[in-house]
Symmetry: C2
Subunit: 145 residues, 2 copies
């Protein structure tokens, strides 16, 4: 049971942005390179983070992306709600489950998933880079402007 | 974010068994046919449910599987702990994440996952077939002995 790679990359992106100096710009290319992950995947994730209001996209030659909110105001449960495509806990469709009309498991999982998200809302982006931002910068070799 | 198909099938198997008359036997072939899912997958799931003590395996010509505990004594969180291969919430290995040594996200996810499992422990197998066993029997067309 794990987050999709999409959500994982989204959280890594926000953690990266939160380690930069306030207001500093970055880009999909830069973040993909630092983490050594697919640029194609990253583009979609970043577009969604812009749509959700966590990132600002700045156009032009000196463009890029910036964090749109203070890290302390970004709740991790909320980010996961915005990025995950399935928060039901199971996929009843493939292969299709005959029990769908009478299933009590899906109800129980809804309760469990809400408990997970509520627990994750106790963490903000600031918590994820509170005492380790310097180490993240060193590990990723971030050229912090 | 969802359970693996493996865990999903395990829970469906237990729900099926809990709908039978107490002590009634079934088999991998029968359950695969009722749910219309792969027998190969089902074999592995059932072996693991036997290993975990949720099912008894009975050898011989009239052999098969039986439920090893009363449904009210089977906690769904415990079943999930036994069947899921990853309860970390993310896969830090593929592709390998450079932040592993200093990551605070994995710590936060551990808390979230524990909240999920604790919430799921509030449900027993009996809760999943409490008022809908007749409907499940009808939908799956179970020949209830």
């Amino acid at each position: 049971m794990k987050l999709t790679t999409y959500t994982d990359y989204g959280l890594r992106t926000l953690m990266f942005m939160a380690c930069l100096s306030p207001g500093a710009r970055s880009s999909v290319v830069e973040i993909s390179n630092y983490y050594d992950i697919s640029r194609n995947h990253m583009v979609k994730v970043v577009v969604q983070l812009v749509n959700l209001g966590y990132l600002n996209s700045v156009r032009g030659r000196n463009g890029g992306i910036t964090l749109a909110k203070a890290p302390k105001d970004i709740r991790i449960g909320q980010v996961i709600r915005g990025l995950e495509n399935n928060l039901n806990g199971v996929d009843c469709e493939s292969p299709g489950c005959k029990l769908v009309p009478v299933c009590r498991l899906t109800r129980a999982l809804k309760t469990g998933m809400e408990a997970f998200l509520t627990a994750m809302d106790e963490f903000t982006l600031a918590d994820l880079v509170s005492d380790n931002a310097e180490q993240i910068i060193a590990i990723l070799k971030i050229d912090n402007r």
